[in-house]
């Protein structure tokens, strides 16, 4: 066996705190090593050529590259040695950058640790076996989870590219947050007017199968071959028969149902179509408010419905769809105002959230676009906007900036002036964050043309005095305390992860950050990929985003799916679990622990019961390996012997 070792400087990233020449010299002394050298940038083209040349010249059959994390360049070097004629699993990487050079400043100690890491990799590579990938067919259908603007964009782009799309939306209609907005910044164009056509396209596209009011129940499978169980929640209205005429909603006697679409600004009926432009335009009963469900008698909607679509006995239904890739576009949520006790939580009816104000501004909202105080339905003259209501506040666990609030507050201040010309808006802000095309100009317009008074400082307290709300804050530019007597206060509540984001991530096997936002594969270079191949991200589920960014990501995710599906076959990773049927005692503990349901029971010709791994389903996580009491199930490329050889390598040092 002739091992070649390549120590990378990574410029000064590694060489700055590791004596790379010494590491190479020490590696040369290890039995089995035929060649060791150090190089400025091993990943560069000349660096890779050096490896290929050395393989030929020195007759090397195993390669160790000590450089950055294998997540960065393992694939690069696998391809390199493959080109030089070696099986690509004859490569090992020692991560001496992230694990060593970047975290310690003591060059002596770092060098020692790097030598340890390299000797482990050498020990492992000498145990490596050649592995060969098999290929399998891709199911060229795509699942898009979430029917907001990002999800719709992804669905439409995929469908226009010829793919069959399954779009699952948990609320009764597509459109997401954007469908609730009145106007959009910085162009002040009508939100539903630009979104509506997209919603219609989604509803009518022959390639898009829309499941509204449905949720993902279970996801099984792997890239190219997923089986998705979808729960179609009971609407108590047969959507095949419902024509969306709205007669039921008109006659329904239960008038105090919570209106999810309007964020509770005003109540709705127990049977309702969420908004006039809803796609699909179908009615749905909220059993928490419906008299038929609460009291067992009423039946008004059933009597009135001209098509007989009402069905109080309807149950949830589970359907299965098979797809080859998934776009996650589950959006975001808004901070519960009750947490902001300094602003009264939700105790004061005239302190509302930005999205609620948006519904008051909207012509199809509960006040038909007339701005009214929720308490007494009078027109407010003094309106105070509080930005960063929860955002950039470590004490409630939201240290980040929600990104779009500065812009929508400026928009709402402008619209307020349009609606009520003799009104005065005040905006409390920490910093005006407006880095986008035409954005900063827009916030200036709110101030200069529309006379919104911007006060730099935070609001410490909001309390009622008579019919007014007193907003007390600091003006940090004047260095003084200010109190404003407001008629209405609008809080720009922080953007947070969507409800159930963590559970969804677990179903998808993708990672999420401390705040519940999904983690992209690389923050700069792989913004819509996840670390689970076949699953892509779009929109605010990855972090707060405005409409242009969400749409951009929707298209980007679609492009990724289309490029994935441009092939007919995919290569499977051979680094998966394998059962030694001679050692297996058929206890099937592995079957129970496998998180991917990749293990099944099998009977050999001798009649012996054993575990069997479904190659295409196994993700190579290794849980079964540590479960198996007799070491019969081994993860290829990470076998017990391979790992133990690494351990003995450091123990011998």
């Amino acid at each position: 066996m002739r091992v070649g070792v390549f120590i990378c400087h990574c410029g000064s990233n590694i060489a700055g705190t590791v004596d790379v020449a010494r590491v190479a010299a020490e590696a040369r002394k290890i039995p089995g090593v035929a060649f060791a050298t150090n190089y400025m940038y091993t990943c560069s083209e000349p660096g890779q050529d050096e490896i290929k040349a050395a393989i030929k010249r020195e007759n090397l059959d195993r390669i160790v590259v000590a450089a950055c994390s294998p997540r960065m360049h393992e694939n690069t070097f696998r391809k390199t040695i493959q080109k030089a004629g070696l099986n690509k699993y004859f490569l090992e990487m020692a991560n001496i950058r992230e694990h060593i050079a970047w975290i310690g400043n003591d060059k002596e100690l770092n060098t020692e640790k790097a030598i340890d890491a390299v000797s482990m990799a050498i020990a492992k590579v000498m145990q490596n076996k050649p592995l060969h990938a098999t290929s399998f067919k891709i199911n060229k259908r795509v699942l898009v989870i979430g029917g907001g603007v990002a999800g719709m964009q992804a669905a439409l782009d995929c469908a226009d590219g010829g793919l069959d799309v399954v779009l699952v939306e948990k609320s009764p209609a597509v459109g997401g947050i954007m469908a609730r907005l009145d106007k959009t910044f910085p162009t002040i164009d009508c939100s539903i007017c630009i979104l509506g056509p997209k919603m219609v396209d989604v509803g009518q596209h022959e390639k898009i199968k829309l499941f509204a009011y449905s949720e993902i129940e279970e996801i099984k499978g792997y890239i190219g071959n997923y089986q998705i169980k979808i729960r179609k929640k009971a609407t108590y209205v047969d959507w095949e028969k419902c024509t969306g005429c709205g007669l039921c909603m008109e006659k329904c006697p239960s008038k105090n149902s919570y209106d999810y679409f309007n964020f509770g600004v005003a109540p709705t009926k127990a049977i309702n179509i969420p908004f006039p432009q809803a796609i699909p335009k179908k009615a749905k009963i909220d059993p928490n408010y419906c008299r038929q469900f609460l009291k067992g008698k009423c039946g008004v909607c059933a009597k009135i419905c001209p098509t007989g679509a009402i069905n109080y006995e309807m149950k949830d239904e589970i359907v299965t769809e098979e797809v080859g890739a998934i776009v996650v576009a589950t959006g975001y949520g808004l901070l519960d105002q009750n947490i902001l006790t300094e602003y009264g939580g939700t105790r004061y009816p005239d302190v509302i959230s930005g999205i609620q104000y948006e519904r008051l501004l909207n012509a199809s909202g509960p006040t038909s676009g007339h701005i009214e105080r929720p308490s007494d339905h009078t027109e407010p003259k003094t309106i105070v906007f509080v930005s960063c209501a929860g955002s950039r506040d470590k004490s409630i666990g939201v240290p980040y900036c929600s990104g779009f609030c500065c812009m929508y507050i400026a928009k709402q201040a402008i619209l307020t002036k349009d609606h009520i010309p003799d009104s005065q808006s005040y905006v409390f802000y920490m910093d005006i964050r407006s880095p986008g095309k035409g954005y900063d100009e827009f916030t200036r317009r709110a101030q200069e043309e529309y006379g919104a008074q911007y006060i730099r400082g935070r609001v410490s307290k909001i309390y009622p005095k008579g019919k007014k709300m007193i907003v007390r804050g600091a003006d940090t530019l004047l260095g003084t305390q200010v109190e404003i007597e407001a008629d209405l206060v609008v809080l720009a509540t922080a953007a947070i992860a969507a409800e159930g984001a963590a559970e969804m991530a677990e179903k998808l096997h993708i990672s999420y950050d401390t705040f519940g936002f999904y983690v992209e594969s690389h923050p700069k270079l792989r913004p819509v990929e996840t670390n689970t191949s076949g699953v892509f991200l779009a929109g605010a589920c990855q972090g707060p985003k405005d409409i242009p960014s969400s749409v951009g990501q929707g298209s980007a995710a679609a492009a990724k799916v289309l490029s994935l599906f441009s092939r007919d076959m995919l290569e499977s990773d051979p680094a998966i679990a394998q059962v030694n049927t001679n050692a297996c005692v058929g206890c099937l503990k592995c079957l129970k622990t496998c998180p991917f349901q990749a293990i099944v029971e099998d009977t050999l010709r001798s009649g012996k019961k054993v575990a069997k791994v479904i190659e295409t389903v196994c993700a190579g996580c290794g849980v079964c390996t540590s479960t198996c009491p007799c070491g019969a199930i081994q993860l290829q490329h990470f076998t017990d012997n391979q790992l133990l050889s690494e351990v003995s390598a450091i123990c011998q040092m």
Partner: protein
């Protein structure tokens, strides 16, 4: 034998200017069958002056008392005074750092190991005794009272240290007073500043702030204020005449310790609760009281009416 037992630190204010807080708390605890044990030889907690000068010294003053409680083998020290409470909580927090703890203990004859939890008497009453027990002890309901519950600035702050109730909209006292059958107002200034120590040095500023609190209480429909802090009580109670003179207002709003209100409801006499020590006389408001059993009947009647 009392059902519950706590180490009790009354604090200097409760020995002097606000004796009635100590007296009424002891009376209430007796009625609730809770034993308070005073550590022998307790001394100043350090209060505000010490920590403005030196944190180690401030912690040492507090820790000396905590060490006494530790020696008594008692896990919890309760104090009615929010300032003492903060001093103890802060000492405990800072002494989690080993080198700080060493510095503090080098100043003490008996080292403190950090095993005593400090809790306000309000917290003990709310959490350990509980609303049900409180309600069960109520004999009289004072029907005239409309109470604004005023917690003061540091009872629940900073939240990471206080670990009790909400720092902006606390509710413990509201609930206790409601359990007494009292009419509790929705009061927006529960945690506003009363001027605190500026009552001694910048009286005008203090009067400005207490005026706001009194004004808001009146706006909320209250005819008295319930307090849990000796300094709040003093600032609000002592200056109403002067404020009236300055501003031409007509405040005559009793500022009563929540413990006194509890005692009254439990049937203690005003004398047992040192009601007389309050500056603004609450007697008129306390005239009308009903036996709780009667109000229950009244409620039952109303319920009957409602169902009919």
């Amino acid at each position: 034998m009392a059902e519950k037992k706590y180490a009790y630190y009354s604090g200097c204010s409760q020995e002097t200017s606000s004796k009635e807080y100590d007296i009424s708390l002891r009376a209430v605890m007796k009625a609730l069958d809770v034993e308070l044990v005073e550590p022998e030889g307790w001394s100043c907690c350090g209060s505000t002056p010490a920590h403005t000068v030196n944190h180690v010294l401030a912690a040492a003053l507090a820790a000396r008392n905590l060490a006494l409680v530790e020696k008594m083998n008692m896990p919890v020290l309760t104090t009615p005074c929010p300032s003492c409470l903060t001093a103890f909580k802060e000492a405990n927090h800072r002494m989690e750092n080993d080198s700080f703890k060493k510095d503090v203990n080098s100043l003490l004859d008996n080292p403190y190991n950090g095993t005593v939890d400090a809790k306000s008497s309000l917290q003990i009453i709310y959490e350990d005794i509980g609303l049900e027990t409180i309600a069960s002890k109520v004999k009289y309901v004072f029907t005239e009272l409309k109470v604004a519950p005023y917690y003061g600035c540091i009872m629940n702050r900073p939240p990471a240290l206080a670990k009790f109730d909400d720092p902006e909209n606390p509710i413990a006292m509201d609930k206790i007073l409601s359990a007494l059958g009292l009419n509790v107002c929705d009061f927006a200034f529960k945690t506003e500043c009363c001027g605190a120590g500026y009552g001694y040095t910048k009286k005008d500023m203090m009067k400005e702030l207490t005026y706001k609190v009194l004004d808001m209480a009146r706006d909320a429909g209250a005819n008295c204020i319930a307090v849990a802090c000796p300094v709040c009580q003093m600032n609000l109670d002592l200056n109403q005449k002067e404020i009236n003179k300055d501003r031409g207002s007509d405040f005559n709003m009793p500022v009563i310790y929540f413990t006194q209100l509890m005692g009254l409801a439990f049937g203690c006499s005003p004398k047992e609760l040192a009601i007389k020590k309050l500056i603004v006389n609450p007697d008129k408001l306390l005239k009308n009281r009903m036996l709780k059993s009667e109000t229950d009947k009244g409620q039952d009647k109303e319920k009957l009416k409602a169902s009919a």
